[in-house]
């Protein structure tokens, strides 16, 4: 138990200068220093082609890093992959199944591949995993008859065959309907509440915002930022939004008061608050004094998406 708590206090995933250059010279991951704290739900963000999946594959021992080191649960990978991976559940780049086997037999197959899994409890653990993702009724159906969402659930079930200390989920809600996405989110919260660290890659920012405690952003193979989600979102300042029929007057008054980056769209005037602690009440009073009829007045909280756009400067497009 002592050893467990000692490991828990350090980062569950820790990489130093992790780099992968593929044959042909393409630099997929460039000097990555990632630290995933134990017990966190860690969102791994980035546009397609930014190196997220290559990073995950290096962490899972599927790809040999060109340089740099990575540790998983305190042990080096890929060297100690054999002893670490039984404690890690993974969903990498979507589910992959044997179409001619039933959902249940797919899980049996993956479980027998794990030398640390006890064959005596296999049936029971497979049934429990199916139940957890809501596939008990479809467990005997051939996997090729599954919908994309069901395949995704079965992939998740294979990551949950045994109690894990770390779950690595690459785009877990892909192909799921809104109801399925909600279920996955509550499943992730449930697992995190049990103490499992969840490493979640996604391109859906609001998904990350809803479930993650921490996040990291990658672009073009490099880590742009990492930290608690609240801090990341705070990094992008909120915008003042005024709704008024007198947009021209409002813009003039706000500019005089130091509001920058003003834009006018229909009856909305938005701008960046002046630095320092300008009192919003004073701004509003000034507008009213100038005869601007204010319908609504407030600050829109910065979303993670604003933070992301501010950080990458390019929005959420495919990297070239």
């Amino acid at each position: 138990m002592e050893e467990l708590s000692a490991v828990n206090s350090e980062a569950v995933i820790d990489t130093r200068g992790l780099t992968k250059r593929f044959r042909g010279g393409q630099l997929a991951v460039d000097g990555l220093d990632l630290a995933v704290p134990a017990g966190s739900v860690f969102g791994f963000l980035g546009p397609n082609g930014s190196g997220k999946t290559t990073t995950i594959r290096m962490l899972m021992g599927l790809i040999e890093p060109t340089s740099g080191t990575a540790t998983l649960l305190g042990r080096p990978v890929p060297r100690a992959a054999h002893s670490v991976l039984p404690e890690v559940g993974a969903l990498i780049e979507g589910p992959a199944l044997y179409g001619f086997l039933s959902g249940r037999d797919n899980l049996v197959r993956y479980d027998s591949a794990d030398p640390a899994a006890d064959p005596r409890t296999r049936r029971a653990r497979v049934a429990a995993a199916l139940d957890r993702v809501g596939l008990t009724a479809a467990g005997s159906k051939k996997a090729k008859a599954y919908s994309l969402g069901m395949k995704q659930r079965l992939g998740l079930a294979s990551a949950l065959l045994r109690p894990r200390r770390l779950l690595v989920l690459d785009e877990p809600t892909n192909g799921l309907d809104p109801q399925g996405m909600r279920e996955i989110r509550s499943l992730v919260r449930e697992l995190a509440a049990d103490g499992t660290t969840v490493f979640l890659s996604s391109h859906l920012l609001d998904e990350i915002e809803q479930v993650c405690t921490h996040a990291a952003v990658m672009a073009r193979g490099r880590l742009i930022v990492q930290g608690p989600v609240a801090e990341l979102a705070a990094g992008a300042r909120g915008r003042l939004v005024v709704t008024t029929p007198d947009t021209a007057d409002a813009a003039r008054v706000l500019k005089e008061l130091g509001v920058t980056g003003l834009t006018v769209a229909e009856d909305r005037v938005t701008g960046e608050l002046p630095p320092g602690d300008a009192d919003l009440a004073d701004l509003n009073a000034a507008l009213v004094r100038a005869g601007v009829r204010v319908r609504s007045f407030g600050v829109e909280r910065a979303s993670l998406e604003d933070a992301f756009v501010a950080l990458t400067g390019e929005g959420f497009d495919v990297a070239g």
């Binding site: 594959r57 790809i63 100690a80 992959a96 199944l97 591949a113 794990d114 030398p115 899994a117 064959p119």
Partner: protein, 298 residues
């Protein structure tokens, strides 16, 4: 990777029962034999002796004389002429007929698909993060391919024996040397020959497995393996390449007929088994070297 695995074993002293490590092999076997493709291949192999038996029956059923009890070397290795006298000869005839093409093709398909097919379907990455262990997975694949060689050969032999027993009389066996041995002895010879035929396929299975680690396309690996088989068989017929013939894995394949001599003539059979072991060692090592260092990007 192997270095990693041995250190891990030291770090992790928890005893694992042999049953746990064999779990993957068992899973590998059930997965292989539950594929429709595997069953279809076996069905084709089972049909070949039936077709030969029926053809021989029809040919001789219209009153034309049976091929001749003289047997002997003039009939060649096909044994076709002796089937009407003794159904057991259908086993030898069917093995001689399927060994050059049908059997190795089936083995090429299963071996070529072993790793590449899993990579193609994406299941390879989940087996490896389970973690199956690359060496352990490759050993399981190699062993299950060997088992398929044996099962495929036995399917031909058993189908031939049943067909032979139903269509023709059974009895004493006239060996190639001209002497006669009892039916029981003949049956033992048939089992021995089936085992040697299965072992003849080991070299090709190792080549197929190696090719399978080179690509992420199961179809490409199967086609390459079967293509190699055909190429080697063509090379084996070119007299100018006499010098390399003894090293071609197909060269000694039909030597199993020596086991129908009295007394048994082992020289070429042993050459064959040695050559197959050599191919298995060389291409098995190559497959291991490739698979344990490969980046799994599929």
């Amino acid at each position: 990777m192997s270095r990693a695995e041995t250190t891990v074993r030291q770090e992790n002293p928890r005893a694992r029962s042999p049953l746990w490590t064999l779990g993957l092999l068992r899973s590998e076997l059930t997965t292989t034999f539950r594929r429709w493709r595997t069953l279809a291949l076996l069905a084709v192999l089972a049909a070949v002796p039936v077709l030969i038996g029926i053809a021989v029956k029809i040919e001789t059923g219209d009153g034309s004389p049976a091929g001749g009890g003289g047997g002997g070397d003039g009939a060649g290795p096909a044994f076709l002429t002796q089937i009407t006298n003794n159904g057991l000869f259908l086993v030898f005839a069917a093995l001689a007929a399927t060994l050059p093409v049908f059997l190795p093709m089936a083995v090429g398909v299963v071996a070529g698909d072993a790793v590449a097919g899993e990579a193609n379907a994406g299941t390879l990455r989940y087996l490896l993060v389970a973690p199956a262990g690359r060496t352990r997975l490759l050993l399981a694949k190699f062993t299950s391919t060997m088992v398929f060689c044996l099962v495929a050969t036995l399917v031909v032999a058993v189908s031939a024996l049943v067909t032979g027993a139903l269509l023709f009389p059974l009895g004493e066996v006239t060996t190639i040397s001209g002497t006669r041995i009892g039916f029981g002895d003949g049956l033992v010879r048939a089992v021995l020959i089936a085992a040697v035929v299965a072992a003849s396929l080991v070299g090709l299975a190792a080549i197929g497995l190696f090719v399978s680690t080179l690509t992420n396309s199961g179809v490409a690996a199967m086609a390459t393996t079967v293509g190699l088989l055909i190429t080697v068989q063509i090379l084996d017929t070119v007299p100018q390449l006499d010098a390399i013939h003894p090293y071609l894995f197909t060269h000694h394949w039909l030597s199993f007929t020596d086991l129908l001599r009295e007394p048994l003539y082992w020289d070429e059979v042993l050459d064959n088994l040695g050559l197959q072991a050599l191919y298995a060692a060389v291409f098995g090592s190559a497959a291991w070297a490739r698979f344990t260092t490969k980046d799994i990007t599929a």
